[in-house]
């Protein structure tokens, strides 16, 4: 998840990481990780990241950051539930993988190089 600020809304945090912030902690699927403090409407990513074991890397000038994924299960997938994927089409309009619920999907990654 890319960040220009260490403070984001709970909704942004969930959309960016797939982890929802609930009273019991940060939750994704069947996994909940307890947190030291209950986050308010705004989340302090610098405080949250170490509690979740998520890496935070920053540009040299400190203006851009990337919050990396959780690695607590030792695998990229923690369950077989397909994560949401929202990416733009050529015309810039957003596509959501969840919009194809009800159909079998083959997702194919390619590259123009």
């Amino acid at each position: 998840m890319l960040l220009t600020s260490m403070r984001v809304s709970r909704a942004e945090f969930e959309a960016g990481t797939g982890w929802a912030l609930k009273p019991e902690g940060a939750c994704r699927g069947d996994i909940c990780i307890p947190l030291a403090d209950q986050p308010g409407d705004r989340v302090d990513v610098a405080a949250l990241a170490p509690q979740l074991g998520m890496p935070l890397v920053s540009s040299e000038d400190g203006t851009l950051h990337a919050l990396g994924p959780w690695s607590g299960s030792g695998r990229v997938l923690t369950s077989a539930e397909a994560p949401e994927l929202e990416l733009p089409r050529l015309d810039g309009t957003p596509f959501r993988l969840s919009s194809l619920r009800g159909t079998k999907v083959l997702l194919v990654a390619w590259a123009p190089y």
């Binding site: 890319l2 540009s59 695998r75 990229v76 077989a80 089409r89 993988l97 619920r101 999907v105 990654a109």
Partner: protein
């Protein structure tokens, strides 16, 4: 490359989503997508989100997801059906490096027929297909991820954004860290290599190595040719496991 198959199988309940992994985004992907003229969604993944979310480490890679949004085959090599032609380089006379690259590429082994047969079997039989894996098997086959790898994935994402913002030197620094921490992600390498301005013209993105007139300027430890020769082209993809 997938449109023909999609036309046939879409009425049987399959949709295809192609995901273009390129930091240069829509404009780089456009000629290829327009040549394919897909009816299916075709999206742009500038930061390689599918690597983080699904464990894609090379291309082409496929993920199968059933009607309930459950993954039944995690990211694996997914060779395109051998019917249509890739948009080619045209009648360009090839420099030695490109000849060498194509020579190595010829040794790369995939089995498009087996993959297509498995896909068709799943489309027909759904959960009864032996190719649809159990949730436990799906998770077990997904990429390992430890703290180092996760950090490398963050470096890669940062690198792609720095590149898009015009900080190429910053991008290279973080691409290098990503390569070091996630050594099995070949897309990470190819993406970074493809962004180096070694040569001009239609071969530029495929050169992925030192410039002939300034080889010492190459900022990476490996390049496409030396990495593939070291690995052995026959090991470029893991053997497909049904």
């Amino acid at each position: 490359m997938w449109q023909e198959l999609r036309t046939e199988l879409h009425p049987r309940g399959l949709e295809i989503v192609t995901v273009g992994l390129d930091t240069l985004g829509a404009e780089a992907c456009r000629p290829f997508i327009e040549a394919a003229a897909p009816d299916h969604p075709s999206v742009i993944d500038a930061h390689h989100a599918v690597a983080e979310r699904f464990g894609v480490v090379n291309i082409p890679n496929g993920v199968w997801i059933d009607e309930n949004g459950i993954i039944v085959r995690p990211a694996e090599v997914a060779p395109a059906p051998r019917r249509s032609e890739r948009p080619g380089l045209g009648d360009v006379e090839l420099p030695d490096r490109m000849v060498d690259i194509f020579t190595e590429a010829q040794k790369i082994r995939t089995d498009p027929a087996a993959y297509e047969a498995a896909l068709r079997d799943w489309v027909e039989r759904g959960a009864d297909s032996p190719y649809a894996l159990s949730p436990d098997e799906v998770v077990a086959r997904s990429r390992p991820r430890d703290a180092d790898r996760a950090r490398g994935e963050a470096h890669f994402e940062l690198a792609t954004e720095l590149e898009r913002r015009g900080d190429h030197a910053g991008a290279v620094t973080h691409f290098r860290e990503a390569h070091r921490l996630v050594p099995d992600n070949f897309s990470y390498r190819r993406q970074a290599w493809s962004l180096e301005p070694a040569v001009d013209g239609p071969l530029a993105r495929f050169w992925q190595g030192p410039a002939p007139d300034d080889p010492d300027a190459w900022p990476y430890d490996g390049d496409w040719l030396s990495d593939v020769r070291q690995l052995g082209a026959e090991n470029y993809y893991p053997t497909w496991q049904p």
